[in-house]
Assembly symmetry: C2
Homo-oligomer: 139 residues x 2
DNA sequence: TAAATAGTTTCGAATATTCGAAACTATAAG
DNA sequence: CTTATAGTTTCGAATATTCGAAACTATTTA
């Protein structure tokens, strides 16, 4: 490509570059970001172990060691699960000597989580059929 | 094995069968079931697409076709996502002629989901740092 | 009956998640 | 400095999830 003599180099190219159709960009709407974030958070909670951890943390901070013992988990494994929660900002940490204490980073999130659990507990008691409705249209 | 003359056949075998150590059984506590269920539900929601579907269904039932169009998804793909939600009992269906209409199966669950979304929207506006706290204990 | 429309399922490859094992870092106490 | 304890990270194999393509089912209309 040769440089154009008029001044700005490659103006056409730049315009092309900026065209929506040509360059989708990261033009995420706030809504898209929210859905993505929500999905990430759900993914972080999509594990019985991590939910047990969060449940434990509802009663205040706990060291990794204490949680490993009370939940019957290997430290390495628990640490991996904690890393998932940490990376999403769902839990936060504090060091004191040898111990690292984990706590819930945002009580509201735990609350929201607990509400869902309540709904599910209800469903569980109401017969537990939370499985696929067998027939869709087949008579 | 010969039947014993005393009455109940194979009593020893039965006792053995019932021993926790020999037969783990599905002796899940209600709590374990709940955590497992909760995790399953979170897994079902751990996808931006499925969350968008659920969000759509908050405003009433929709046909697959309509959702595919409004969300810009291929029908086959949307159908796969809907199957996930269906299998967990999160959505239910109704057929009317050629169309199958999906609806939220339990409004409370959608509500719980919406609450979490609210919390996350708040966090998103409050600066958006929902990422890992860089340092744990390293000075 | 055939064709059209709405929706589902199956298959397979790409990608992501999980967990144990082993190696690693950080702090405290000898 | 050495050891012990608490916790994290890395690696790799097993497993699970995702999506497009293609084939399939169900219903209506002609």
């Amino acid at each position: 490509m040769k440089a154009r003599e008029s001044g700005m180099p490659d103006e056409t190219m730049w315009k092309n570059f900026m065209r929506k159709e040509a360059v989708p960009m990261k033009k995420k709407t706030i809504d898209d970001k929210l859905f993505a974030l929500h999905a990430e958070v759900c993914k972080s909670m999509a594990s019985p172990t991590r939910l047990k951890v969060l449940n434990t943390l509802q009663n205040g901070e706990q060291s990794v060691d204490a949680m490993a013992k009370s939940l019957g988990l290997r430290k390495a494994n628990l640490s991996q699960h904690l890393a998932v929660l940490r990376q999403r900002g769902i839990v936060a940490t504090r060091r004191e000597g040898l111990n690292i204490y984990y706590r819930c980073a945002n009580p509201k999130m735990l609350k929201a989580c607990a509400i869902l659990r309540e709904v599910l507990l209800e469903q569980l008691r109401e017969g537990g059929e939370l499985l696929e409705q067998a027939a869709i249209g087949r008579k």
